[in-house]
Symmetry: D2
Subunit: 141 residues, 4 copies
């Protein structure tokens, strides 16, 4: 398993008249969390696209537990539970406030697609190689 | 069961560099669809808030089947399968393109909350009364 | 001179915690107004891009007079005061509420750019031909 | 004169199909820059609102010089050229890329308004006191 944390400060533009962060914004925060997690691993999503592969979202789920508010400093926890193979990758992503309270629990499934044809392709080798060490059995640990 | 349709034209600002509508935008379209559906029933969500009740999203799920593109004229189908009672209401919302192809299948669950205390409250009477006729058994039809 | 009107219903996602429409949203409304105005003239901005030309914004100005609110039905008035030539086109765009009150006064300047090289190009012939009749001197009227 | 810098990483959701950051997003970046600059001075905009004053935008201007792209790490420079008095404050805000190239030059004018009545009020004392030292004549320097 692999987990990375990203800090995001809530912008005024991300609130709505209910005085809380508008619900769809968490999908944007989660995307920023995925980008940031890849960078922490020494890759960029940008470089993946430059190599002709896009990661397209095929499923997204959010459970909203507590509201986030303007100027909150959120922690987005981005986890991968299983080493992705073939065309599919699944992220578990949760948002916490500064008190450590869970605000939103999310799951996002993406497919690796050919950038031109938008047909399924396999996970790029460089990404697979980067992720693999986090999922190796520690048999003699 | 109750179903309403809303037309939404995709704006340039709603696309991303993958040349498709950014995935979180569908949650905004679905919200516009809910507002529009209430209006078609003779109510406004605005009036519900003015009476001291907010409808807060507690769960949202999207399955992305096909991409939407700039300038597409989408149809958002907003359905309620069961007459809501107590504090909970569930919407099934799907997006279709002009060829009638399903693009995104969504489900959104909201709670009726007191606008000030953000604690659960029951569905406003006026809304319940408006929805009820769509869920009556047609025994002698 | 050429003027077209577009109706836009304010979405909940477009409000902020000040209970008004977030200021940058008017630039999105203006863009929707430009797209809609072209369509009313029998063209689409989409077709312009498909022919290899993008219209890139080089200047935008807004004066905010009165706030817009959730569920307001806005009228966006999109005007062109002078027939564009070369690589530059200027739009005057204002937002009004249902009482006819001016909310925002805007001006947006765009350049016609080659889609691939992002260098200046001239206004596409088809667009120039479409706009020309609105700027002819009515000498014997 | 007072100048502060804020770093902002461009999110995928902020791009459009022209492969660049959508123009209205810079107004959101500028707002984040203002919030961040106040925080660097030991204040928060949040606390200003909690004291019953909102800062409403009455004018915004942007000149777009070069495009920003996905994953760019932008620097937003936020400057105040004159000590604000009465109800008006003016920010000059520019966006630069990592090579130090100017991307967008902006100016944003805000009014201090009573949060409830939305009528003009004067700059809060605490904010005025915080800003004053940056605008004192250095007569004997």
């Amino acid at each position: 398993m692999l987990t990375k944390e990203t800090k995001i400060r809530v912008r005024y533009s991300e609130t709505d008249q209910m005085q809380v962060v508008y619900h769809s914004r968490f999908l944007e925060y989660f995307e920023a969390g995925r980008t940031d997690s890849l960078r922490a691993l020494g890759m960029t999503y940008k470089s993946i696209e430059e190599q002709g592969v896009v990661m397209a979202i095929v499923q997204a789920e959010c459970k909203y537990v507590k509201p986030a508010r303007y100027d909150d400093l959120l922690t987005i926890k981005t986890s991968i539970h299983e080493l992705p193979k073939n065309h599919r990758i699944e992220f578990h992503q949760d948002a916490y406030n500064e008190s450590g309270q869970l605000l939103v629990r999310g799951k996002v499934v993406l497919y690796f697609l050919d950038k031109v044809t938008f047909t399924k392709t396999t996970i790029p080798d460089a990404l697979h190689t980067t992720l693999q060490p986090f999922f190796e059995k520690k048999e003699n640990a």
